[in-house]
Structures are given as structure tokens and as C-alpha cells.
């Protein structure tokens, strides 16, 4: 597959597959990683990278295929097994114990011991401080993990993985929440680990990072292995065409819409420790993009506007009428719809059928004498699911077993059924395959054309630039730039999203 290295690769995966019920998450994943190498794994969202990682980590057990570590066939039944075999994994979402100290989070289960199998707290704290020094960050090792920013949480995950002294380190989008300086430090650590002869797998959406850090790259698409190349023998555009496997021209079919009256007006919104002096408006027919690094406070602002979270001061008005704080039901009545980032947790009743999910928000509209029957739900939900081409075998299929794209469509259908004036959508295409992605974009553009005001939060720069009429950039809870469609270049947005950080640190 790759390189002319004579030593056996540290990790070999060949034709590995994994399904969850009817959904095939991984069709045929292959990966071969050498010692002393940083291997990039790229592919669109939903290409199966995270599933592959979870198979390596022992979270999931593969259904079929070859899985070798250091030349020996392995079969991990749990994360403890993989850890034992020298595999460290940094997951996309940090998983920490909020009640325990930062140090305990790093060393849980393998704390340094003193005489009598007693935990040596002194040694543990010293070691944690050493790790943070190596990473060049300032986190108090004795403080609780609760309340840390996502970037800091991610750094703790990295410290945890490094301290494991693993021969294979897998990093699933570790840089998503980090600022430029932090990314540089992470890369320095990654290179030194490589030079020690360890194998690293690096998953990222940012090509500049892949080309800067990695020596080999494997591309996946739709759950399958596509190709492996040496990084100096390929170009970003090669990789894009491998990843997408089709033309990228009409990925973001944004249609210009007539911009009308302001629908949402947010004035002076504050919440201590989260966001400050947030002022903006969204007009009818306009898509406003909210950009910024993960943890900059984008989702928090959306949740506060919708009334899920409280805010300390400021006001939210919709079509000229004040919307009560901390009252999502009032927000819905006023004409807001909110599609959260984590569909599984916040947007879908995951164990209920598609029908029930779509009908849930319009219960009151379809109920007769306060009662709802299955047939009424079906009647109300059917057209919406159809219009969005939700691909489930039947409307009564469980939402949990659907793919990410279809889940998102169900959530959108659910909210469109309320006829909202304003749609707040957080990461509309996260975990959605390319085809469905442009579907979602076309849908959003169409809705804006019909006069809906849309506030879109997205971490994917091309999505923001392609879709938004206006871009608001957030950095550490403050709006640092407001850019028109014409002004919004990747450089301008990234500068506004990070300059605040760089200045402070």
C-alpha cells in the first residue's frame, strides 16, 4: 500500500467493516501506519474515519477484516485492552470527569504509586506540570476539570494520551478547538513523538495542517478506503477530488434572496464567563453565519437567544416584540426554531419514530380534543419527511438507527412544521455525507428565499463563506468582526477568530 519501509507497520487494518443495525458505518476500511511516521486520515464527514478510530480504540468491535498491531492480530473488546497494547486515542469530544482534578483526569487508573500502593499525589502533580510545560500551556493541575474551556479540555486529552507513552497515538480532529499557537505546540509534540519512533494517526479537515505535519495520507470516502499517498507526491486538489469523488462546484448552491425587515434583534447580550456585549440582527431572507473557533461561544449565544440558557443582561426581540429570557416555549411561540449541534442529545427523541419526532413540536396543532392518534401524526409528518427526502424505510423507523444526514433532515422537518420566522441552526452539516450536505444547503438557501431569517453556526469555513450573506466572527465570547459576503475571505474570518487569542497569550 505505501512506503518502502522494511520494518513491519505498527498498525495494519485491511477491509475492516462495521455496521450498526441497518446502517453501514464502515464498509471497507484499510490503513497501514509505520513507526516514526505521522499518517493523515482524511475524508468528508461521515466517511467512516471516526468509526475506524473507535475500532482501533476498542470502543467498537469490527464485524470483519484484518486488524494487526505490531505484526500480531488483535481483537480489542474494550478500551482497556487497546490501552494495554499501547494505543492512545484522543477523541473528537473530550471525555473528562468534571468532579475530579485535572491531574486525576490525566492519570486515572494508572496513578504513580508510592509505598503501600498509595497514590503519590506529589509525583502525579509534578508529572502533570511537566506535561503541561511540554505542551506549553498554563492549566492548574490541581483545579477541577469542571468549567474548563473546550480548548483546555482538548489539551488535557492530549496530555493524557502523551502520558500513556503509547506506540500508536490516534488523534481525531484534535485541532478543531485550538488556536494557532496551541496548534503549533501540539505539532511540535507530535513531531518529537514521531522522532522517538512512535506511530501517529492524525485526522483533520484542514489541509494546511495535513501538509505541514504529516508524511503519508490515506483518503476515505463513504466508509471505504480510497487511496494512500506520500504527502510530497500529492497536492490538496488531488486529495479533494479523491475525497469527494465528484465535482465540488455546486456544493453550496446559494441563491441570492431579497433581504427584508429585521426579524431578530439582539442587543447587549451578556453572560459572565461565556459571552459579552453581543449585538446583531438577522433580517428576513438573510442567512447570517456565526463563525469562530470551537468554544468561542457561538452555540452558547444561540442557546441563550432561544431561551434554553439564561443570560445576565441584554435583550432579544423577534419581529419587534421582546422575547422572554429562559423560556424556549415563548421563543417557539414567537416564531423561532432551533436546531442544535448535537442532534442525538438535543434535537431528536432518539428512541422514537420519525413520525413522532416530526409531530412532536406541532402536537398542539394536530391534536383533537387534546388527544393525538398515530394516524394524525402520520398525516402531519408524511409530507415533511417526503419533501426532505428522508431515506428511512418507513416513517415508523427508529430515529436512532438512521444516518446522520437523515437525522438532520428529520430535525429540520420537525421545525419547519412550526412555520418559524427565524431558524437558528448549529452545525447544519456535521456528520453528514457530501450528497446530503448540498441538499441541506440547497434547502437552507430555498428557505431564505421564501423570507425565512436564518442564523447559521458553522465550523466549516467553506460552508459559512458559501452560504452566508453576512458573517459574524466570534472570539472568546465577543464579536470581533462583521463581514459582508464580499469581504468575507477565509483569511479575514480566521484572523478575526484568532487575533484576540494571540494578543492575549
Amino acid at each position: 500500500m505505501s512506503t518502502s519501509n522494511t520494518a513491519a507497520p505498527v498498525l495494519v487494518l485491511r477491509d475492516v467493516s462495521k455496521s450498526f443495525g441497518p446502517v453501514v458505518a464502515l464498509r471497507s476500511g484499510s490503513l497501514s501506519v509505520d513507526a516514526g511516521s505521522i499518517h493523515a486520515l482524511i475524508g468528508e464527514n461521515g466517511a467512516g474515519k471516526s468509526t475506524l478510530v473507535k475500532v482501533v480504540a476498542g470502543v467498537h468491535r469490527r464485524d470483519s477484516g484484518v486488524f494487526e498491531l505490531g505484526g500480531e492480530a488483535v481483537d480489542f473488546g474494550s478500551t482497556a485492552d487497546s490501552k494495554q497494547s499501547g494505543v492512545a486515542v484522543i477523541y473528537q469530544e473530550p471525555t473528562l470527569f468534571p468532579d475530579l482534578s485535572v491531574t486525576e483526569n490525566i492519570f486515572m487508573g494508572r496513578q504513580p504509586l508510592a509505598r503501600g500502593r498509595r497514590i503519590d499525589r506529589q509525583a502525579m502533580h509534578t508529572e502533570a506540570e511537566g506535561l503541561f510545560r511540554r505542551l506549553g500551556v498554563r492549566i492548574d493541575p490541581r483545579r477541577p476539570a469542571e468549567g474548563l474551556s473546550i480548548a483546555d479540555q482538548q489539551i488535557i486529552e492530549i496530555a493524557k494520551a502523551i502520558s500513556l507513552d503509547a506506540r500508536l497515538l490516534v488523534m481525531d480532529e484534535p485541532t478543531a478547538a485550538l488556536s494557532g499557537v496551541e496548534v503549533e505546540r501540539l505539532f511540535a509534540v507530535a513531531r518529537s513523538l514521531r522522532d522517538e519512533g512512535r506511530a501517529l494517526v492524525f485526522i483533520s479537515h484542514r489541509f494546511d495542517e495535513v501538509f505541514e505535519l504529516c508524511d503519508t495520507v490515506t483518503v476515505m470516502r463513504d466508509g471505504s478506503y480510497i487511496d494512500t499517498r506520500r504527502i510530497d507526491e500529492t497536492t490538496p486538489s488531488d486529495l479533494v477530488s479523491l475525497m469527494v469523488g465528484r465535482d465540488v462546484d455546486d456544493l453550496f448552491p446559494k441563491v441570492a434572496a431579497e433581504v427584508g425587515e429585521p426579524v431578530l434583534e439582539v442587543r447587549g447580550l451578556n453572560r459572565a464567563g461565556v459571552f459579552h456585549d453581543i449585538d446583531f440582527e438577522v433580517r428576513a431572507g438573510e442567512i447570517v453565519g456565526l463563525a469562530g473557533l470551537v468554544g468561542a461561544g457561538r452555540s452558547e449565544i444561540a442557546r441563550a437567544v432561544f431561551g434554553v440558557d439564561a443570560y445576565d443582561s441584554g435583550s432579544v426581540t423577534l419581529s419587534g416584540k421582546a422575547v422572554r429570557a429562559r423560556d424556549p416555549r415563548a421563543a417557539i411561540r414567537a416564531g423561532m426554531a432551533f436546531i442544535p449541534e448535537d442532534r442525538r442529545k438535543q434535537g431528536l427523541v432518539i428512541d422514537a419514530s420519525v413520525t413522532r419526532n416530526v409531530a412532536a413540536v406541532i402536537r398542539n396543532g394536530i391534536a383533537r380534543a387534546g388527544l393525538i392518534t398515530g394516524s394524525m401524526e402520520n398525516k402531519a409528518a408524511g409530507p415533511w419527511a417526503g419533501r426532505l427526502e428522508v431515506k428511512t424505510n418507513a416513517l415508523d423507523m427508529n430515529a436512532a438507527t438512521m444516518s446522520g444526514g437523515n437525522q438532520q433532515k428529520v430535525v429540520i422537518a420537525k421545525w419547519l412544521a412550526t412555520n418559524p420566522k427565524l431558524l437558528i441552526i448549529d452545525e447544519p452539516t456535521r456528520g453528514i455525507d457530501v450528497g446530503t450536505k448540498s441538499e441541506v444547503h440547497r434547502l437552507l438557501s430555498e428557505l431564505a428565499g421564501q423570507g425565512l431569517a436564518i442564523l447559521m453556526i458553522s465550523s466549516e469555513l467553506p460552508e459559512v463563506l458559501g452560504m452566508a450573506d453576512r458573517v459574524l466572527v466570534l472570539c472568546e465570547g465577543q464579536i470581533t468582526a462583521e463581514l459582508d459576503r464580499a469581504e468575507a475571505t477565509p483569511e479575514a474570518v480566521m484572523h478575526a477568530a484568532t487575533h484576540h487569542l494571540e494578543d492575549v497569550r
Binding site: G58, V59, S78, T79, A80, D81, S82, K83, Y91, T95, L96, F97, P98, D99, L100, E104, M108, G109, R110, Q111, L113, R117, R118, I119, H125, F132, R133, R134, G136, V137, R138, D140, P141, R142, R143, P144, E146, G147, L148, S149, R185, A188, A272, G273, V274, H276, G477
Partner: protein, 360 residues
Amino acid sequence: MSHTDIERPQPGAGTSTSEALLVEPSRLSPTRRALTTVLRSRELSIFLVLVAVVVLATTKNNGFLFSSDGWRNFLLNPSILLLLAVGQAVVIITRNVDLSVGSTMALTAYLTGRLFVDQPNIPIIVVVLACLAMGAVLGLVNGVLVAYAGVPALVITLGTLYIYRGIMLTWAGSDRINAGDMPRDFLSLGTKTILSIPVLTIIAVVVLAVVGYYLHTARGGRELYAIGSDPDAAHLYGLAVRRRLLAAFVLSGALAGLAGVLYTARYGTVSSGVGSGIELQAVAAAVIGGIAIFGGSGTVWGAAIGAFLLVTINRALPSLGIEDFWQRAVVGVLILGAIVLDRVLARRQARKLAESRDHS
């Protein structure tokens, strides 16, 4: 990546010691840190309430603490609840609960009497070991059901509460174990004192010390906190979640078994109603002592002080001339107060930690 990169900023003028303890504990000197931790601990505030209750009751009636009987009762009465509260605390720390401890205690109390009746010359230590073993097995049943069936512990142990009580009632029938059935040596254990400290209290405190030490300094102990703090993260982390849960329930059961023997030694009689309702007192003691009901935080020291406070209040209120209704209401208020305080403090802490991001 030089050393200067991690220079600590000068402590801001506005940050107090308590805030620093939360956000940047390393900035404080070790002594200062330890002192602030103790001063701001839930355990200390519960302890002060206990002291206040004792002082109040003693000023009203000198004998509450200073008669030999009063002193002995002050230490002796909470001992059995203390054992149960320690076991309960360990289980609650893992985000579970064990409601079956009262029934387990009843079963082992009856086992104690039965053994002495059937084998009059049986050594006391054998009886104690038998009860520990029986309690551990009953706890293991709870643990297996909770760890493997994936049903909430509340439901499982509510079920075994009735089942274990049913077994005890069937086994005992109309039997009643009386003091005359048991050897004098054994009964004297219930009231004997060493240096004016009851033996039962010494046993309970030794157990408390061992469990407290284990939770604080052993890997297994810390993992119990981790599991309670975020069970999913614990799985992902590769901790042996099931094994730890089993161990927590076995410990809770074994301590209930020990409490059963001590109960028999203390009171001399075993009737069918032994220990009914005491499981709720154990939960109350743990919660009052600062064990978070959603797991992950609190110490057995707090639970032990909570047990002392509950029992002592129950003894103090009558001597202060307070009616029966109000005695129960006071306990209720204590529990509600403890839970409300717990939530308020947790929220305030979360808020402070979030605010600290602004200054960093």
C-alpha cells in the same frame, strides 16, 4: 516552548483565597491550600452543626454529654448507622444507591442469634465472619444485578429490600431471639468500653478510617469517584466499571452484615422489625454529610458526621422539649437543606469556574 511561556500572572487584586482554591489551587502554598480546603469543606460545617446541637442540649441538661451514660450514648448510638452510612456513601459516590442495607442487617442480625442458639459454644469471631460473608453475598447479588442488568440501582435494591426482608421473616417465623439465648461475652461487647470509648464505636471508626483512606489514596477508590462523575467517560477510559460497582455493593453489604452482628450485641434481642427504615437514614446521613446524590464527590468522613448528627439530633430534641412531629420535621428539613445547599454550591462553583475563563 520555554519556561517563561507558562509564567503565572500576578494574583489579581480581586481574587480571594477561596476563588484561588477553586481556579488556581497551585498558587496557594501547600499549608494555605490545606487550611482553606478544610475551612471551606462541607464536613466542617456539618461538624459545627453537630457541635452546636451538643452544646445546646448540654446547656439545657448537663447530663446530655457529661454523665457517663450520656457520653456513652453519644458515642455508641450512632455507631451502627455510621457503618451503614459509610457503605451507602461508597455506593452513592458511584452514582448508585443501596436501599437493601436495612434488610441485609436484619438477616445477619437473625443469623447471629440463630448461630448462638444452634451452636452455643461457637467462637464470636466465627459469627462475625459468617455475618460479614452473608452481607457480602447479599451485596454481591445487588451488584451483579446493577452492573450487568443495566437497571437503575434504585429499582434493583428496592426489590431486594423486600426480598431479603421476606427471607428473614420466613426463616425466623415466629422466633424471637432474646438476650438469654446468647453468651454473656458477646452481649458485653455491645456495651464494653476501652478508655471510656465503647468498643462498637472503635470498630465503626476503624472501618471508617480504612474506607476513607482507601477512597482517598488507592487507585480503586479514585476510580469509584470517576465512575460516579461520568459513567460514560469511565467506560471510554477503559476503567473496570463493572468490577468497581460490584466491589462497592459488596462493601455496602458486608458493612450491613457487620452492623447486624453489632446490633444484636448492642440490643440483645432480634425481632422481625430490625433495621426497617434504617436504609433511608443511611442515605440521609450520606447526603447531609455532603455526598452528592449524583455521585462523584463527597467523603465518607462527611457521611460519618452526618450519621452522628442525625442520631444526636434525635436524642437531643426530646430533651429540649420538642414534640415528636417536630423532631421528624427537623430531620426532614436537614435533608432538604443539605440537598438544596448541595445544588446551590454546585451551581455557584460552576459559575465561578466559568467566570474564571474571562480573566484567564
